[in-house]
């Protein structure tokens, strides 16, 4: 039993995936808030007057939307780590998501700053639904991969 680089990679991935799960949850909440905004029985006036709660919510949404790039980078980062550690199976499992991230970022709307979501189109029901679905899928993926990394870490530690 030895502490190899691969084991380190798995541990790191474990921690980072926990962070990604958190991001994904935040992402889902943010879009849900965007979507269900109108169901709040607040006065039209209150929607005009950003109350404290409202401002908080807007901030939360904004942060969540800004978390996109960090998420991609983190994922890319431990993919590279697995590549270095020659964990091919794990890498293969992550490649589709990596490819998806690259495609998603390539096809983002015209923007001068980093980001993925265009405030003018985000309220379109199709896009909202897509983003929400995306969030749920990612959450599931990260959760599964969390346990996989846990298993992988233990396996590497035990086997070596």
């Amino acid at each position: 039993m030895a502490f190899t680089f691969a084991a380190f990679c798995y541990m790191l991935a474990l921690l980072l995936t926990a962070a990604l799960i958190f991001f994904a949850i935040w992402h889902i909440i943010a879009f849900d808030e965007l979507k269900t905004d109108y169901k709040n029985p607040i006065d039209q006036c209150n929607t005009l007057n950003p109350t404290v709660e409202k401002v908080k919510k807007i901030k939360r949404v904004k942060i969540a939307l800004k978390l996109v790039l960090p998420e991609y980078l983190i994922h890319f980062f431990f993919c590279v780590m697995f590549f270095c550690a020659a964990e091919w199976l794990t890498l293969c499992l992550n490649l589709p998501l990596l490819a998806y991230h690259v495609w998603r970022y390539m096809s983002r709307p015209v923007m001068s700053c980093p980001g993925l979501y265009d405030p003018t189109t985000i309220m379109n029901a199709d896009i909202l639904a897509f983003c929400q679905k995306e969030g749920w899928c990612k959450l599931a993926f990260y959760l599964l991969s969390f346990f996989y990394y846990l298993y992988g870490m233990i396996y590497v530690l035990v086997s070596s």
Binding site: T36, P41, Q44, C45, S112, D118, T120, N124, A125
Partner: protein, 1165 residues
């Protein structure tokens, strides 16, 4: 309180009956509880229509209602009438619902079967019920007299305006002095003299303005003085119709000595009195029309009746939160008034109404009602009488309404026609003789009457499918087309302390809510039961207490509220206009500056605004020039900022100046501007920095920025490169660069939107200017976009003329600042996507920095939950804005549509024009996000899907070919026309900017205008007859038949008018008869007509008059002036005429027949 008075006016019969017993007895009017009976009646007035029909014939002396419109409404009404007569049939269908699905009637393609189908005898078991039904429907038509009907009415052209205006101005002054004085002692009940209180409810109806000559004598009658005076003192509320009538009813009750005389008057002159009052209504609305500012902004009692407006204001501010009327009511009732009416009361009432449907005409049938009534509240014996009157109204109460709604699932005549299967390959003549109207939703006549105008609010499916599954099956898009800030002829404006809204979903109270009893109403969107606030019990129009269902909010689907400070984020902003002008070499070459300055100078006084209006100017080439116009300067000062990378504002308070104070300096500037830059050699354009400067300049106030740009921005932030490859213009492959190249303009637009700045863009460029990128500045800040390709003041007079006309309209049209629009819909429906220029702030809230009367919106809807538990679906659009006079206002439109569960009903209610427009919007989105060819395929697929869906689901015909329901028979033509539009065509050389502009137009143009652009109206002019012509005032407007857009319909010996929305083409054939050329164009023969003639001379011949009348009439209902081009058969301009012939084959697009064959092929795949 004097509900009976109101009743009386509704039916002259009951009037004479009731006024006699009541004569001189005040008590009946004191007793509010009567209203218990009314309030349980559902609000929608069946009162509207009958008087409309009657009032017209009787009022010609007073006013000539615009016949065009009158005829429309009349016919609409007669349709209602027809339907109501056929109520039994509907009922029948209700009982055997499978009947209309049953193939048998539809199988036979002959139209006869449809005619006979409804008359197949109703099941005998229903006969009695049907009769009742009919009876209950009849009364509204049998009885004359109503007020709200008038409100919905189009005013006639204001002939009596000056007279009216005078009266209008006189009245308040004439009245205020004695207002408080004599009223009190003479009238012990106090509530009328306490009118200042009532004014807080004031309805600033634009019809309200004044009383009519016919009515004045009544008011002048000595004993009536105190009433007259007290009423106008409240200024806000009163409609002339009411002005006239109530005095005569009240007089007997209050003035002992006056009563007899007036009673006499009432009885003998009853009819004339009520007609007078109608006359009055139409009159006064006429006056408002002429009063309104030239921009054609009719609304606004702000403009039209300043006196009233002020009255309303002062009173509402003076009364504050206290509501004197309920107080006085309490005091007068001495606490007798039962706060919560015994519900048993209502129950009995309802039961009674079941028992006697025909009660409108016969009072004796009322034993039950009054008896139970007396039981429940014996202390009020006198009002038993008034309760009779309540009953005697032809009022659809809850049970009636539900019965009426129950009958809705049937198929009335119109629907049968709409469902007639049409084989497109066989029928060639699909166009109706007159321009297409919106289909009438299949509602009960009462609801139909109060429903929102289709010009304002239109749904693609006028029968909403019950579930998303059904909608998917129909293969039609569900969506709304809205034109919320349209110039209206007629708009009830309401000032009230509390705006009644649903507590859960915040829906504004509207005609489609249900009043459960006196104190509660049920929201029609979320079905929550709400309380009726005290204030709402008082009706400012009739000045009666306890009729919440008759308040204007509940009688009109389109109302405007004057909002209180609850609806303000900050004090309402002043009107602020900033003009950002391109003065580079290119701009000087194009020569627009002079015409802009001239036009602005001319319209400076007509800019909407008040004494706070602010204006500013900013010019730019490679630097930015500000103009100091501070009052007191001898001449405008120009400040140049050359640091375009970091724009700053050189002086903060003197660049945006008060227009009133600095008018001379502004005029100075406007005269000197064109010359100032005539020598400019600077070719660069720093549009981005100029916009940033404009943003900084305007952000403290918000307002409107008008940008005039003539070339591609090349300097500073937002600089762009040319992206168009001229060789690719006619490529039939995808078109690139439809989206923005940079997000600079979009981000700036969002910042602007946040600061309530709307940016309007005028692009006058002859070169590629990347409109796709620049237009973002207007798209997301709710601005409008104007594009004049190859504008040149000498070489392109047509564009110059258009520019001048557009500019005039643009400068003078109404404007709303810092606006938001929320669209609510019945639970179960949800909004999918918005189309138009705005920023979407939340799922149902649009943020509109500026709102103008010429832009429209489209909304895609989806059905989330089944609508099975309701028979009606409602949509409400509420637009909150600050008027140019600094008033916060809310304009509310409510549309009500039936819910159906049969596919055939969905098809029968399909609105082909609305569907086309919504699909166009969706296609534009698709072509930007995906690709143009995708969008085109999607459009073709829409036709294929519809035909196959109809074939497999509804029509059981085994015949081959393309069969569509008659309601959708024009759908393939319209889709083909869409595919041939500049925005979506391929293969034909189209400049990128023109294509992008066409796309912007699609997104913002109102439906009527858009349809004319897509599928122009073609008429033959040389053989017009007066048959079926409209008679407007003194002019005869011929109504030539619509022709299909195909060259085969055009013959060389004729002259044809094509109405393309923004432009008219008058095509004159080579062999056109010389009489037409001589009489209309003023030239002796065909050869002598000049090649680019662009006006129709005013000749004294009948034919010329007819043609001009037709042109004027066509022009009348559009905002921007259309230009006219006379196209000769042999000129090159002929091509522009024939490119609109969408049914013909063009160099790159298929003909209609080929298109149909293509669709058929697709189907068989």
């Amino acid at each position: 309180m004097s509900a009976p008075g109101y009743t009386n006016l509704n039916s002259s019969v009951s009037y004479s009956q009731n006024s006699t017993p009541n004569g001189g007895a005040a008590p009946p009017y004191q007793n509010g509880p009567t209203q218990a009976y009314q309030s349980m009646n559902p609000p929608p007035g069946c009162y509207g229509a009958p008087p409309q029909q009657q009032s017209y014939p009787t009022t010609p002396a007073h006013s000539t209602p615009a016949p065009g419109k009158a005829s429309i409404t009349k016919s609409a009404h007669s349709a209602n009438y027809y339907q109501s007569n056929h109520q039994p049939q509907q009922q029948q269908h209700h009982h055997i619902p499978q009947h209309h699905v049953a193939p048998s009637p539809y199988n036979v393609p002959s139209s006869q079967s449809y005619a006979t189908h409804p008359s197949s005898g109703p099941p005998p078991s229903n006969a009695q019920y049907n009769q009742q039904q009919q009876q209950q429907q009849q009364p509204p038509y049998a009885t004359p007299g109503s007020y709200y009907g008038q409100q919905l009415y189009y005013p006639p052209p204001g002939q009596h305006s000056s007279q009216q205006q005078q009266q209008q101005q006189q009245q308040p002054t004439l009245v205020t002095a004695p207002a408080s004085g004599p009223g009190a002692p003479l009238y012990p009940i106090v509530s009328y003299p306490s009118a200042p209180g009532s004014s807080q409810y004031g309805t600033l109806s634009s019809t309200q303005s004044t009383s009519t000559p016919g009515v004045m004598p009544t008011q002048m009658g000595a004993p009536l003085h105190q009433y007259n005076t007290s009423r106008p003192a409240s200024t806000t509320a009163v409609q002339p119709g009411y002005n006239a009538a109530p005095p005569s009813q009240l007089a007997p009750t209050v003035n002992g000595q006056g009563s007899t005389a007036h009673q006499h008057y009432d009885q003998s002159h009853q009819a004339s009195l009520s007609y007078n009052s109608y006359g009055g209504v139409t009159h006064s609305s006429g006056s408002t029309e002429t009063d309104r500012p030239p921009s054609g902004t009719p609304s606004t009692s702000v403009h039209s009746s300043p006196g009233h407006q002020q009255g309303g204001d002062t009173s509402s501010s003076s009364t504050g939160s206290a509501s004197p009327v309920p107080n006085s009511y309490d005091s007068l009732e001495g606490g007798n008034f039962p706060d919560s009416m015994p519900s048993s009361n209502d129950m009995t009432n309802q039961a009674a109404s079941y028992g006697s449907y025909g009660y409108s005409s016969m009072q004796p049938a009322y034993h039950q009602g009054p008896a139970s009534h007396a039981d429940s509240s014996p202390s009020h014996d006198p009002y038993g009488q008034s309760s009779y009157q309540q009953y005697s109204q032809p009022f659809p109460n809850l049970s009636q309404l539900s019965a009426a709604l129950g009958g809705l699932s049937g198929v009335p005549e119109l629907e049968v026609e709409a469902l007639r299967p049409v084989n497109l390959l066989q029928e060639r003549n699909l166009l109706p003789p007159r321009p297409l109207e919106a289909p009438e939703p299949n509602l009960s006549p009462e609801l139909k009457k109060v429903n929102c105008s289709p010009q304002t609010f239109r749904c693609t499916l006028s029968s909403i499918p019950q579930t998303q599954a059904l909608l998917n099956k129909a293969r039609l898009p569900l969506g709304l087309l809205l034109h919320p800030f349209r110039d209206l002829q007629q708009l009830p404006v309401i000032t009230s302390n509390t705006i009644v809204r649903c507590r859960s979903c915040r829906t504004y109270i509207n005609p489609f809510v249900t009043f459960l009893d006196q104190r509660r109403w049920k929201c029609n969107l979320c079905y929550r039961v709400n309380d009726v606030p005290d204030e709402f019990m008082y009706n400012p129009v009739t000045r009666l207490y306890g009729e919440p269902h008759r308040r204007p909010e509940v009688q009109n689907a389109t109302v405007e509220f004057i909002a209180s400070s609850d609806y303000m984020l900050r004090p309402p902003q002043p009107a602020a206009y900033l003009f950002v002008l391109d003065v580079s070499h290119n701009a000087v070459e194009a020569g627009y500056l002079k015409y802009f300055c001239d036009s602005l100078m001319e319209n400076l006084d007509r800019l909407p605004g008040d004494s706070r209006t602010r204006v500013g100017f900013l010019t730019f080439d490679n630097t930015i020039h500000f103009y100091n116009l501070q009052e007191g300067l001898s001449q405008p000062q120009m400040l140049v900022v050359s640091d375009i990378d970091d724009v700053f504002i050189p002086s903060h308070d003197s660049l945006m100046v008060n227009l009133k104070e600095s008018k001379e300096l502004v005029k100075d500037l406007l005269t000197s501007l064109p010359a100032m830059f005539s020598q400019s050699r600077e070719t660069h354009s720093a549009l981005g920095p100029a916009l940033q400067a404009a943003f900084k300049l305007m952000s403290p106030t918000g307002g409107r920025v008008s940008v005039f740009q003539t070339q591609l921005p090349t300097l500073g932030a937002g600089a762009l490169q040319s992206r168009e490859d001229p060789n690719q213009r006619s490529s039939s492959k995808g078109v690139q660069h439809l989206g923005p190249a940079t997000d600079f303009y979009k981000k700036l637009a969002l910042d602007c939107s946040g600061q309530q700045i709307g940016v309007d863009l005028f692009l006058l460029s002859s070169q590629y200017a990347d409109l796709a990128s620049i237009s973002c500045i207007s798209k997301y800040s709710a601005g409008s976009i104007f594009y004049y390709p190859s504008f040149h003041y000498i070489h392109n007079p047509a564009q110059l003329e258009k520019f001048q006309k557009d500019l005039e309209r643009y400068l003078t049209r109404k404007i709303g600042f810092e606006a938001v629009m929320r669209i609510r819909c019945t639970k179960g429906l949800s909004i999918h996507t918005f189309h138009g220029n705005f920023f979407v702030r939340s799922t149902d809230l649009l943020s509109l920095a500026n709102v103008n009367p010429d832009s429209a919106f489209a909304v895609q809807m989806s059905i989330e939950d089944s609508l099975a538990d309701s028979s009606l679906a409602c949509f409400q659009a509420a637009l909150l804005y600050t008027s140019s006079k600094g008033k916060r206002r809310i304009r509310v439109h409510t549309l009500c549509l039936p819910v159906v569960n049969q596919l055939s009903d969905v098809y029968a209610g399909a609105d082909v024009q609305a569907v086309t427009c919504l699909l166009a919007n969706m296609a534009i989105d698709r072509s930007i996000t995906s690709s143009l060819s995708d969008a085109r395929d999607a459009l073709v697929n829409a036709v294929v899907d519809l035909v196959s869906a109809y074939k497999s689901n509804v029509s059981n015909l085994l015949q081959s070919g393309l069969v569509v329901p008659a309601a959708m028979r024009l759908f393939p033509v319209f889709i083909l026309a869409l595919l041939k539009q500049k925005a979506l065509r391929t293969g034909t050389s189209t400049r990128l900017d023109e294509r992008v502009f066409a796309m912007c137009e699609f997104k913002t143009q109102p439906l009527q205008q858009l349809m004319r652009m897509v599928h122009p109206d073609l008429y033959r002019l040389d053989n017009m007859s007066d048959q079926g012509a409209l008679h407007l005032n003194d002019t005869v407007v011929p109504q030539p038949h619509l022709l299909h857009l195909s060259a085969e319909r055009v013959s060389r010996d004729g002259a044809f008018l094509m109405d393309c929305g923004t432009v008219f083409y008058l095509w004159v054939g080579k062999c056109c008869n010389e009489m037409f050329i001589r009489d209309v164009l003023g030239y002796p023969n065909y050869a002598s007509i000049p090649p680019n003639m662009s006006h129709i001379p005013e000749l004294e011949t009948t034919l010329s008059e007819r043609v001009r009348a037709l042109l004027d009439w066509l022009q009348d209902n559009r905002a921007f002036c259309s230009t006219i081009h006379v196209v000769k058969d042999d000129t090159s301009a002929k091509a522009t005429f024939f490119q609109h012939m969408v049914e013909d084959r063009s160099e790159s697009a298929s003909s209609y027949h080929e298109f149909l064959q293509h669709v058929q092929q697709q189907m068989s795949k």
